[in-house]
């Protein structure tokens, strides 16, 4: 029935092939639905049901499917990345709050935010390889380039933990600051950036041992990252301050700031690299930022508490940039 409804919506909207590739998916975490918008039209076309409390979504490494995590129903909704058609539901993925594939696609990891555990699944068939219970609200994750380690922030205890993907053993577990949320591995594979939502900036962490090697002030409630796409600059949303900072990771300084009110959260960039779309959790909208002007140019109404966002076309080519996408598009937090 849902499949039929989805097909009917897609048909009515003419959303197949190229049209669907123009689509943006936004998860409305407080109303168990996801919105479908068009990038070009900047409008919401449809709102479809999905499980309960969906927060994050990502494209599979082969670019063929989109996975939507439904946290309370312990399942993943699988959509066809090309047509948007509902393909299947993967059950028994417990509290899939934050999702990520290792760069080589071998591992699929979920952070169970409310249930306090990190699950490591085999990427090919979602078979559970290991479950590690760890207190402190595990929220975001990043991988190293070799697909050997996953780094997970613990929001409540202020820690960053490194897990060995093969053995599921903890490599190190360090305190990094107040309410760490977003974490991203830089392309040099030598620096992790961790956003501190309980503070006003980020810390730079050495992935080898978890030692803090630097800090940078960005804004209150620094929350999550998204790569600009040039391998050097990253956007960082500051939820409490209502801004998005642009960070030069080479010089490690803030080179720009954009006002995005309403608790800016997840982000994604249009395929042409000109626009940054940012969910505004409190305003029930998604903001469109003109990157050249560094200015918010539109704000589109969606559902309640919009969280994860995904540009389908950029997502469909996700395998090429998997090391960064796995840790950014896939992730955000409450």
């Amino acid at each position: 029935m849902k499949k039929m409804a989805f097909a009917a919506v897609a048909l009515a909207l003419g959303m197949s092939g190229p049209a669907w590739a123009d689509a943006v998916l936004v998860l409305n975490s407080d109303e168990a639905s996801f919105s479908i918008l068009t990038r070009s039209g900047r409008t919401e076309l449809a709102r479809l049901p999905v499980g309960r409390e969906p927060h994050h979504l990502l494209v599979t490494p082969d670019g063929k499917e989109v996975l939507v995590g439904s946290t309370v129903t312990n399942e993943l909704l699988v959509l066809d990345a090309k047509t948007g058609e509902r393909r299947r539901v993967v059950r028994d993925i417990i509290d899939p709050y934050h999702l990520g594939f290792s760069p080589n696609g071998k591992w699929f990891v979920t952070a169970a935010y409310r249930l306090d555990h990190v699950d490591i699944y085999r990427g090919e068939d979602f078979k559970l390889a290991g479950r590690i219970f760890i207190d402190g609200l595990p929220s975001h994750m990043a991988f190293d380039a070799e697909s050997k380690t996953v780094f997970v922030t613990l929001q409540q205890t202020g820690r960053l933990v490194a897990f060995d993907l093969q053995t599921q053993a903890i490599k190190w577990n360090v305190k990094v600051g107040e309410a760490p949320a977003g974490v991203v591995m830089l392309p040099d594979n030598k620096r992790l950036l961790v956003a501190l939502t309980g503070a006003d900036g980020l810390v730079v962490v050495d992935p080898k041992d978890g030692s803090t090697t630097g800090t940078l002030q960005t804004g209150k409630g620094a929350h999550n990252f998204f790569p600009k796409g040039d391998g050097r600059h990253y956007f960082l949303g500051n939820r409490v301050e209502g801004t998005v900072s642009l960070i030069d990771t080479q010089d490690m300084k803030v080179v720009g700031s954009i006002r995005v009110p309403g608790g800016p959260d997840c982000m994604d960039i249009t395929p042409d690299g000109k626009e940054l779309w940012v969910t505004q959790r409190f305003l029930r909208r998604i903001a469109v930022v003109d990157i050249e002007q560094m200015k918010m140019v539109a704000s589109i109404p969606v559902g309640k508490s919009p969280h994860g966002v995904l540009m389908l076309k950029s997502g469909a080519t996700g395998s090429a940039v998997a090391p960064v996408r796995a840790a950014s598009t896939a992730g955000d937090q409450k």
């Binding site: 029935m1 849902k2 409804a5 407080d30 109303e31 168990a32 049901p49 499980g51 309960r52 409390e53 309370v72 129903t73 312990n74 399942e75 028994d92 417990i94 509290d95 409310r114 249930l115 609200l137 929001q155 409540q156 107040e178 309410a179 939502t197 309980g198 209150k220 409630g221 939820r239 409490v240 209502g242 009110p261 309403g262 608790g263 959790r281 409190f282 305003l283 029930r284 109404p301 309640k304 508490s305 409450k334």
Partner: protein, 324 residues
Amino acid sequence: MRQLIDIWIDAQTWLFETFVGPVLFRFGLMAWYEPGYSAVEFVMLGVVQIAIIAIGMRFFEKRWPLEKSSSDDRLILVDQVYTLLNKLGILPLAIFIVTYPLVQEIELTVRTWGFAPPRLERVLPWLGDNALASFLVYFVLYDFAAYWLHRAQHGLAWWWSLHSLHHSQRRMTVWTDDRNHVIDDLLITLALVLFSQVVGVQPGEYVLILMIGRLVESWSHANVDMGFGWLGDRLLVGPRFHRLHHALSTPEERHIQDHNFAPVFPIWDILFGTAVYDGKHRPTGVDDPIVDGDNGRGWIAQQVTVFGRFVRSLVPGLRRASVQ
């Protein structure tokens, strides 16, 4: 419509970002950032409810009162205090602080076992495609649970010792609905939240169900002799239907209050044989001098006195025969 929604959201965001968010940030409570935002909406909805009661519903009470003004009017004041404490989120916040860890622990334990609360949509897939139908089905289920909890409030002596406070009001008005002991409120909240988790009510739906349900219940306590017509009175609880549930018992009608329990949908009383539609006017209150003594007391005195009644009901040696 979109403009109205935008005004509402803008106000909620402004209130949160100006007053609540900075406090949470300052005290390292960022894990409560989203719940804090929802709490602001709860309070805003409370203000709307108070406005609807004070302006809309009171208009009918003033224009067409069933019981004329008397010296008992002063008894209404304490009910207004209850309403303000509830609708403005002060009591719900206290109850939330007590119940949340317990509900959380139960839910997380069950989910760790691998049991995910099923959404009805898994059984009835068509519900997922129709937001209104989905909302109504969850509303009906919620009301069904509330009906049986209400029967338990009357059927269990210890629970009646608490719930009798709600019934002790001799001057029933639109303000009476919130007149409950905090432990009674806590138990009902705990039970309904757990029930909602099990059947899969969404957080957004829950707030709406609560708001609409409580407004219907406020209206059903109004001091008016009004209904919704023969059919309407069988679809929705109104003042005429619910007033019978608050009727003072007499030797001829000892168990009159064991009827018309339904909070919103009378169908439960009809189905389970507890519905009475006779249109008679009866005085309200409880035929027990101890319970009737609640009248005239202030909020704190009522809470303390009824707590004592509750303790006595739990300890056989202290129990008094007159508690129903």
